[in-house]
């Protein structure tokens, strides 16, 4: 007997218990909820088996697409139209079988996936048969919209992924073709990505979006990114919006998944590492590092200085800043978000409200620099700020990696340092003299810091000869 049949039997028994007055309705509801959750857990197939079945299905579908793409022009036209519908009809047949025989999640996933790919095939091959290709954006949009109900009906994770991929392609194609206005892309993104939101919320509520399904969050984050980039040609202050988008990913991850008991979750990029399984946050963090690196180039700021902001942009930015500040404050209060340690040490003892606002400091700084009348000075200031910020991130990571004996963090920090130093060494936007002086100053700074630390360590050792050496002390400068 399968798990589902066990559950059906148990449900029937429970109805009998209730009718016999053995249990009250509240207890019955709790029991049903408990066994439903257990059934969901036990229904999960081994990951390898699940992956093999899915890969096999995808390969068969891709093979079917290639066979149809061969173009059997010797066959009658209507027969070719029918052939183009075969994958879709197969998927619908599988779906009916799944419902009628009350099959499990794997069957639901496969049938929904076959239907989605079948829709794409049918629409594409119709264009082949009649030699008329409608707007490619419509092909992907149509398939996405017709696939979406399957996500809800079958609770199909893979179809949700296919939906996000199709929506991403649609938005990208619409942007390339410029077939939609800014308002159109904005609205399309909100509606199409938002259409998946109720399902995601329900999954989250039922505790299903854990572990292996977190890739869906990664896809969601990337779809949002495609949406954002599809609007870029229309936007002037893209730096602020892009920064806020990535920060939003980190905050969303903290909001939904951070556990106050776990000090490593939902943290700000400069804080604890080791939260790789938080895909939204990871995507946000890595993208923010990359963004800050991009902002360290002067050419970008000089180019940006040629444009000006539209008045309504200030309003949008103000609303976003306020919303994010509120969310950050709330997350700090709930202990779901950690303070960036580099920044925290810089502002320790300052009013808490300043601390809460810290993650928003870079975009506010960008905005202020954009508004400065002397664009040349503004670009120089911006470059100095973001170079220092990126350098600080790398240094902090390196030191923390050494202190915590975490090789990955130390290496990433070292990579960031090498990257920013190497980039500035080769940067042609600054004169050789300026670069030379900055490098000499930085090098001397490191040498003197190291010397100071070594002396202090010796003095401490002489004062307390019996005291054991602190294993957490910075080890980087000990060799000089």
């Amino acid at each position: 007997m399968t798990e589902e049949k066990h559950l059906q039997w148990l449900n029937r028994q429970m109805q009998t218990w209730q009718s016999q007055g053995l249990v009250d309705p509240a207890t019955l509801a709790r029991l049903q909820a408990y066994y439903r959750l257990r059934a969901q857990d036990t229904k999960r197939m081994p990951v390898l088996s699940f992956a093999l079945v899915i890969i096999g299905t995808v390969l068969v579908l891709l093979g079917a697409i290639l066979i149809l793409a061969k173009n059997w022009s010797s066959m009658p036209r209507l027969l070719r139209v029918f052939c183009s519908l075969v994958p879709l009809l197969t998927g619908i047949g599988l779906g009916l079988y799944t419902i009628l025989r009350e099959k499990g999640q794997l069957w639901r996933e496969i049938s929904a996936l076959v239907v989605s790919i079948g829709l794409l095939t049918a629409m594409a091959i119709t264009g082949q048969v009649y030699h008329v290709i409608s707007d490619p954006a419509h092909l992907f949009l149509g398939t996405a919209l017709l696939s979406l109900p399957l996500v809800y009906l079958f609770s199909a994770d893979l179809t949700a992924l296919v939906y996000l991929v199709l929506v991403s392609i649609y938005l990208a194609v619409a942007a390339i073709q410029q077939s939609l206005s800014l308002g159109g892309i904005l609205l399309a993104g909100i509606l199409l990505i938002g259409a998946l939101k109720p399902w995601l919320v329900l999954q989250l509520h039922q505790g299903k979006l854990q572990g292996q399904t977190l890739w869906l969050n990664l896809a969601l984050g990337l779809t949002g990114l495609v949406w954002f980039f599809s609007m870029l040609p229309y936007w002037v202050p893209w730096q602020e919006f892009l920064y806020l988008y990535f920060l939003g990913l980190i905050l969303a991850d903290a909001y939904y998944y951070a556990d106050p008991q776990d000090s490593q979750l939902g943290s700000w990029p400069l804080s604890q590492e080791g939260s790789e399984h938080h895909t939204l946050s990871l995507l946000g963090k890595l993208s923010l590092y990359f963004l800050i690196y991009i902002f360290s180039f002067r050419g970008l700021w000089l180019y940006q200085a040629q444009s000006s902001l539209r008045p309504f942009t200030y309003g949008i930015l103000f609303v976003l800043f306020a919303g994010m500040a509120l969310l950050i404050y709330m997350l700090y209060k709930q202990k779901k978000l950690q303070q960036p340690d580099l920044m925290e040490s810089a502002v320790s003892g300052v009013l808490p409200v300043v601390k809460w606002f810290l993650p928003l400091l870079p975009p506010v700084l960008m905005l202020l620099l954009q508004l400065m009348p002397d664009r040349d000075t503004a670009s120089l200031l911006a470059v100095i700020c973001f170079n220092l910020l990126f350098f600080g991130i790398g240094l902090r990571m390196l030191l923390r990696g050494i202190n915590q004996n975490h090789l990955g963090t130390a290496n990433l920090g070292l990579f960031f340092l090498v990257l920013i130093i190497g980039t500035r060494f080769l940067d042609m936007d600054f004169s050789f003299l300026v670069r030379g002086l900055v490098f000499v100053a930085l090098g001397l700074g490191f040498l003197f810091t190291n010397l100071w630390m070594v002396r202090k360590s010796r003095e401490k050792a002489e004062e307390n000869p019996a005291e054991p050496i602190d294993p957490a002390a910075p080890k980087g400068g000990a060799s000089l």
Binding site: L37, Q40, D41, I65, L68, A69, K70, N71, W72, S73, S74, L78, V81, L85, L88, L89, I92, G95, L96, I99, L100, E102, V115, L119, L120, T121, A122, M123, A124, I125, T126, G127, Q128, V129, Y130, H131, V132, I133, S134, D135, G142, L146, P149, L150, L153, Q178, S179, V201, L202, L204, H205, Q206, G207, K208, Q210, Y256
Partner: protein
Amino acid sequence: MTTEKRFFFSPWADKVSEWKPGKMTLLLLFLILAALQIGLSVYPSIRSEAAIRSGQEYKFKTEAYDPADPFRGRYLQFRLDTTTVKNRLEIDESRGAGRQICYLTIGKTPEGIAYFDEALPKPPADGADYIKARYQYGNYDLPMEQYFVDEAIAPAAERAFFDHPNDCYILMRVQRGTAVVTGMYVGDLLIDQVDF
């Protein structure tokens, strides 16, 4: 073991979670969806078939070359001449709207060769045949630019077009805005049936 977290939307989600569609409800919803999916997939074919059976036939002069599409296979890319089009669009360039949907009417030369006559902002009121296109900063993007062929004959077909650059045509059937390419010809020979 999964753990349930509580959010501000949790009470609402509790209520929705409690709703579990029965087998018949699920079946009914799926059948409605399947009908919609099949219907919308088949609809373009029905319109195209109607155009093939009752649409007016036009012969356009063209030339072609041979790329490939990962989904639809090998095809001959062709370009129909739109330099003859008289632009009747009311384009407000000040709004940055250098692109819009337009409707191209079709004319015929005394030799029976078709050409695009006028670009209109709306379908012609007199019931004349037209093709829906996209105006983009002085150019017209047409929905028919590819003629899909069997992969075995595509390279040879391309060579045939290069060898006879002034003697290549496509036949198109048009009915109420729906256009279908019914054949591509080198001289009088249908490209699919040419024995290379």
